[in-house]
Amino acid sequence: MVDRVTVTLTLNGERRRFEVPPGRRLLDLLRDDAGLTGTKEGCGAGECGACTVLLDGVPVTSCLVLAASADGREVVTVEGLGSGALHPFQEALVARGGVQCGFCTPGVAVTGAAALARGVTGAERTRLLAGNLCRCTGYAKILAALDDAAEAVDAPA
């Protein structure tokens, strides 16, 4: 039995403390220790983007982040993306039909929200989403939802 390490996170706005094995991945801490199963494991090798979460405001594949490395940092998962309600990009994904099987959706939602926060447009916005694979939608509806959300963010009703 190896010693456990303490990992303290600001997780979806709340200060949380975990005692985990040293080799725990952030993905497993989120799903198994914090019970936040919105974040999905796809490939486990950083190639599909399904496990994307925000670490200090930028998207990372949580399957490749050692939980201990995230100690003291801020993590936002799909559960905490909108504050109390859905994030505008999540709303747009629903309205546009940008969700089919839904497995990639948490990662897509997180990366898309981060892309909107960066304020980029056009091809650069598409480039930022290219690390999140979707086998259902063909991406057109996801990107259309991102455009809608960008308008909603720029010009709140």
Binding site: V2, P22, G23, G46, P59, T111
Partner: protein
């Protein structure tokens, strides 16, 4: 699933990190985007991981006649940095093509080099920049020219107990009337999230008469390490990159590379791709 390690150390200073890294069973971890996969697959092993996230090794700064990039600077930060984009556009471009964005937000320059892959996308741009790798150890620091850093697939000049602190890129002033063309291109099945089948980093300084005053070419994924294409460079030296010069260079470059067949592509395809990438770069240089 947890990766198979016994211990993780999170030092607050470089001295503390180096003290732990002196242990034979310890290995540094920064972004972890390569190492976590390798630990999972059993391709690399470590009992103890030393987390480099709290050492202040990130950031880009101008230092005299050079730009120094901290080893823990992420690909995303490098791709977006104004000084890197101005002075070393091939490096900025390469950093923006490593994995996808969530990888770029985590992967570091030091990690891309320490991993020792022949396909490391930042290596070519650093080779054409004549960069130096600043390596620290308990006994002091040394500077390893990037051309001497890669020793073979997965092998580098780093010794046990050493750490990459930064990469130093000398600034080259361009004389009046000269034109500089610098590019990085990689080839793979899609644009993002691929390990390069072949990559080319090129830098050309063109004089008023259209002749190449300087040309530097580096290639990835076509030899046991990232390589400078010195034979191609010699074939082009002082010439205009016209059709004849381009043909000579395409022949010469075949002597610079030693590609293999692997899961990503056959060697023969890599030889053709390198010739095409070089030709396209030189056409762009000629067009201006």
């Amino acid at each position: 699933m947890d990766v198979a390690i016994q211990e993780v150390v999170r030092p607050a200073s470089i001295a503390e990190a180096l003290a732990t890294l002196a242990r034979a069973d310890a290995r540094p971890i920064a972004g972890g985007t390569d190492l976590m996969v390798q630990l999972r697959d059993g391709r690399r092993h470590a009992a103890c991981l030393v987390d480099l996230g709290r050492l202040g090794l990130d950031g880009v700064r101008r230092d005299g006649d050079a730009v120094e990039i901290g080893a823990a600077t992420t690909m995303d930060a490098i791709a977006g940095d104004a000084a890197v984009r101005d002075w070393f556009p091939a490096l900025a471009s390469a950093a923006g093509q490593v994995g996808g964005w969530p990888i770029q937000c985590r992967a570091t320059l030091g990690g891309n080099l320490a991993n020792g892959s022949p396909a490391a996308d930042t290596a070519g741009p650093l080779l054409i920049a004549g960069a130096g790798v600043i390596v620290v150890a308990a006994g002091g620091r040394r500077r390893v020219p990037i051309a001497e850093f890669f020793l073979g697939p997965g092998r580098t000049a780093l010794r046990q107990g050493e750490l990459i602190a930064a990469v130093r890129l000398p600034l080259a002033e361009t004389a009046a009337g000269r034109r500089v063309v610098e590019r990085f291109v990689k080839v793979g099945p899609r644009r993002e999230q691929v390990i390069s089948v072949a990559s080319l980093a090129g830098r050309a300084v063109v004089g008023r008469d259209g002749a190449l005053e300087q040309v530097r070419i580096a290639l990835g994924s076509v030899a046991p390490t990232p390589v400078r294409a010195t034979a191609a460079e010699r074939a082009l030296s002082g010439r205009r990159p016209d059709a004849v010069a381009r043909r000579d260079a395409a022949r010469a470059v075949q002597g610079d590379i030693a590609p293999i067949d692997d899961v990503r592509a056959p060697a023969r395809y890599r030889r053709i791709v390198v010739a095409v990438l070089l030709d396209r770069f030189l056409r762009e240089v000629e067009r201006g």
